[in-house]
């Protein structure tokens, strides 16, 4: 038994809470990536600058989540701490971002 398994045995985690928390975090991420997509579409960002905008936006959102939702203590609510908050549901987030980005890119520009 290695040290990590041992620690988990002695100080167990609540899997339901872990699942519920990561669901809340990925919900927040997908909602905010859609909003970021709207902004990118309005600003008319193209190719790399758009994805860079998404990256920066996600970092901003993660910071907000850690400060507002987690009260500055990410390790209490997720196993990986900061890493988990940033990396939550990346593919879903990118897809939502691209969808609204494309939509508003087309809508705003005639």
């Amino acid at each position: 038994m290695n040290a990590e398994e041992r620690d988990l045995l002695l100080n167990p985690i609540v899997p339901e809470n872990l699942v519920a928390n990561s669901k809340t975090i990925s919900d927040l991420h997908s909602l905010s990536s859609s909003l970021l997509g709207i902004a990118a579409g309005i600003l008319g960002l193209e190719s790399y600058s758009g994805f860079l905008f998404y990256l920066l936006g996600t970092l901003f959102v993660s910071t907000l989540i850690v400060t507002f939702v987690m009260g500055g203590k990410p390790e209490v609510y997720s196993r990986g701490g900061w890493k988990d908050v940033i990396a939550a549901d990346v593919t879903g987030g990118v897809m939502g971002f691209v969808l609204t980005w494309t939509l508003f890119f087309g809508l705003v520009r005639v």
Partner: protein, 133 residues
């Protein structure tokens, strides 16, 4: 999730701001495409993000940031993942569900609703009523 009034207001305000920015950008591009520049035919107007005026850019960025702040600060609840602090919070009443104390995490094991002795409880209640007079 219970939204507080300030964050509701913030969300409403920044949504309006974002809608306005969207509309302005749309108008801007209409204006651009209807005024043909001398060296270009109207059908080939080069458009890119850099032509967007600074005020619309700023409005978009600020409104989206505010909207994100409003949404994220509107009372999303997470629960501690460590059993020790979660169970401790539930037992002591620090962690509440909709403002109510929740039963201990494993209380069901000692209450055993499947084996509820209803006659005993009925008798206890009848006795209590008698003592109340």
């Amino acid at each position: 999730m219970t939204r507080s009034l300030p964050s509701k207001l913030l969300i409403a305000f920044s949504s309006i701001l974002l809608a306005h920015a969207c509309y302005s950008a749309h108008e801007h591009s209409l204006l651009l495409s209807s005024t043909p520049s001398p060296h270009d035919s109207p059908s080939a107007t080069p458009i890119s993000g850099t032509t967007l005026p600074l005020d619309i850019t700023l409005e978009t960025l600020i409104s989206v940031s505010l909207l994100l702040v409003g949404i994220i600060s509107s009372g999303w609840e997470l629960k501690p993942i460590s059993l020790r602090s979660y169970a401790g919070g539930v037992e002591s009443g620090r962690i509440l569900l909709d403002g109510k104390k929740v039963a201990g995490l494993f209380d069901g094991l000692e209450e055993r609703p499947g084996f509820l002795d209803v006659r005993k409880q009925r008798k206890e209640f009848a006795d209590w009523v008698k003592t109340q007079g």
